[in-house]
């Protein structure tokens, strides 16, 4: 039960590591951007998970309903902002990858570096 209760946190950790490992091991720039997106999504999941409590609902006070349990809305707002930041980063990264392809004719990191080293 304890393991299941922490299921989301396990997913967070696994996704984070998948993203980080792919960032390090992949040479393809688009794959790197995908890995970065996975890496960031893991953090979004982490924030959303910590705000959720059992039977928690949206924090709207209703007349005549007692004993309401609210989920904390703040992390969700934070993550809304962080998602926007993540999308901008992905868009900019892909734009740079496109420019790199125009200039070098490849999006493999090691090939680009090899071309840079040549005088």
């Amino acid at each position: 039960m304890k393991l299941l209760g922490l299921f989301n946190y396990w997913v967070f950790a696994v996704l984070l590591m998948i993203g980080l490992a792919a960032l390090i091991s992949r040479q393809n720039l688009v794959k790197k951007i995908m890995a970065l997106a996975i890496f960031q999504s893991a953090v979004f999941l982490f924030f959303i998970t910590m705000s959720k409590i059992e039977n928690g609902t949206a924090p709207i006070i209703q007349a005549g309903v007692d004993n309401q349990v609210f989920s904390n809305p703040l992390p969700q707002v934070l993550i809304l902002t962080a998602i926007v930041v993540g999308i901008s980063t992905t868009a900019l990264g892909l734009a740079i990858a496109v420019r790199l392809y125009e200039e070098y004719g490849t999006i493999e990191d090691n090939e680009i570096l090899a071309m840079d080293r040549k005088p």
Partner: protein, 496 residues
């Protein structure tokens, strides 16, 4: 409420709101002029804020009138004021001195966009300095980083693209690590406000998540601050960026990350988390020391002037990190002073590089032989700023090195070896600067062309103003010293 009460908000709002207006302008010249004026106005605001901080202490501002910890708080203390002066000063200097160089590097058609991105980068950096809560710091950090990536990639050198891609990946990892840390702290304390966080950390019984948070935040920010060996993105990004952009980012962008690092590790963790200061010192001092020694050594072997100065920056960041790791009042004063003085010296040096590249079209040392005789004014300013970088008495660099040595001597048992490391690194700085100065003055000019080719008078004047400010703050260090002392006081929670 009069306008003066809104200074902390205006500091961010002014460049942020000017940016879209700049993008609407049609020509590069108008966009540059508008960006320069906005930058100078921000410098004015920063000076007003500094005066207010020195007069009445920390400035608090509640956005929209919502009081913290529920509303968004902006806080400007001595430390923030120092960083604000750095950011706006570096931006004004780079824009004023970089017009000619940027006209060559950036298409006139795209120039308004470029200057818009410049202002957004400045707004983001200012935002980090004034923000009073951890999440706004993250958002401003990403705003400034994204804009900085655009600035670096905007030039004509295609190598800038792969450099900036690496910076983007590493910068985003750093920012995401920071966000994870903030998440853990929020989980345990339920607050994002720095001051509130420091108060509530005491009540947290289970401290393991907080320690994890401290680890994530410190490593994330160390990535962004390019603390050795996490600096791998920095040399290429600085080298291939447009020259004027290098002046701007080299002077302030890594310093702002160090500012957040200090804010978290001292204002929040220090004193509230048992044994944290020791852990922080054990983590950061070895890295700082290896940066001081190895990066200086690597700088000696660089054939490109910009890359040499970039590696020198990594070493200088090592000094700041070393001073910060000592966890003493003197150490923090030294760290903050060195932030300011290094920005002065490196800003001047990179501005001289702008001038060199304008006339000789190259930043490779081999192509700059004899430049000292052909551009005597610029070269003399380069030497002056170089002396400040080394830490010769009478220049600003000496003041911070002096404080650093005093702080290091207070460490029981380790004082002498640390001082030896600092002196060794300073000597290596003499070596790598001399390597360039020697060929600049005594080398044979390529093609035996020895005609004078100084840059236009406005840029030369600006270079000299920047160079003389190194001497001025070496002889009269009262302003940065007062800010550094008040800043270190707030960090250690003593004064204020």
């Amino acid at each position: 409420m009069n306008l003066a009460d809104h200074l902390p908000a205006l500091q961010v709002a002014l460049p942020l709101l000017t940016a879209p207006l700049v993008i609407l302008l049609r020509t590069g010249f108008l966009a540059w002029l508008a960006a320069l004026l906005a930058s100078l106005a921000s410098l004015g605001l920063a000076l007003l804020l500094t005066a207010a901080v020195l007069e009445t202490g920390t400035q608090h501002y509640a956005v929209g009138g919502w009081q913290p910890p529920f509303g968004i708080a902006l806080t400007v203390d001595g430390l923030s004021a120092l960083v604000l002066l750095l950011i706006t000063g570096a931006s004004s200097l780079a824009l004023a001195g970089g017009r000619q160089s940027l006209r060559l590097d950036i298409d006139n058609r795209r120039a308004p966009m470029f200057y818009g991105a410049w202002l957004i980068a400045m707004a983001g950096l200012c935002g980090i300095a004034v923000a009073g809560d951890a999440f706004n710091v993250f958002v401003f950090m990403e705003i400034s980083s994204l804009a900085t990536y655009i600035l670096i990639a905007a030039g004509r050198d295609r190598r800038a693209l792969s450099a900036v891609f690496k910076y983007l990946i590493i910068g985003t990892i750093g920012a995401t690590f920071y966000l994870i840390g903030v998440g853990f702290i929020y989980m345990m304390t339920g607050t994002l406000n720095f001051a509130d966080m420091a108060l509530r950390l005491n009540d947290v019984i289970e401290t393991r998540p907080i320690i994890i948070a401290a680890g994530f935040i410190t490593i994330g920010l160390a990535l962004k601050a390019a603390i050795f060996p996490l600096h791998i993105w920095l040399p290429r990004a600085y080298t291939y960026a447009p020259n004027a952009v290098t002046v701007f980012i080299a002077a302030c962008s890594t310093k702002v990350s160090i500012y957040v690092l200090l804010r978290f590790n001292y204002a929040v963790f220090h004193g509230n988390l048992l044994g944290h200061s020791d852990l922080f010192a054990v983590f950061i001092i070895p890295l700082a020391l290896s940066g001081i020694l190895l990066a200086s050594a690597i700088a000696i072997y660089q054939g490109n002037l910009k890359k040499m100065l970039a590696f020198s920056s990594v070493a200088q960041i090592g000094y700041i990190a070393l001073a910060a790791g000592l966890a003493s009042q003197t150490g923090l004063v030294a760290a903050l002073l060195h932030m300011f003085n290094h920005a002065l010296a490196k800003g001047t040096l990179f501005l001289c590089v702008v001038a060199f590249v304008l006339t000789s079209r190259s930043a490779t040392i081999a192509n700059l032989h004899g430049i000292g005789r052909r551009m005597p004014w610029t070269m003399a300013a380069f030497v002056l700023a170089g002396l400040s970088l080394v830490g010769v008495p009478g220049t600003a660099g000496f003041i911070s090195k002096w404080y650093l040595v005093v702080a290091v001597m207070e460490v029981p048992g380790w004082g002498v070896p640390l001082v030896v490391a600092i002196i060794a690194s300073s000597l290596m700085a003499v070596v790598y600067l001399w390597k360039f100065v020697e060929v600049a003055y005594y080398g044979e000019a390529p093609g035996d062309d020895t005609a004078a080719m100084e840059v236009a008078l406005p840029l030369r004047t600006l270079i000299w103003v920047a160079a003389l400010s190194n001497v001025y703050f070496g002889l009269f260090p009262q302003l940065p010293l007062a800010l550094a002392q008040s800043g270190s006081g707030t960090l250690l929670g003593g004064l204020n």
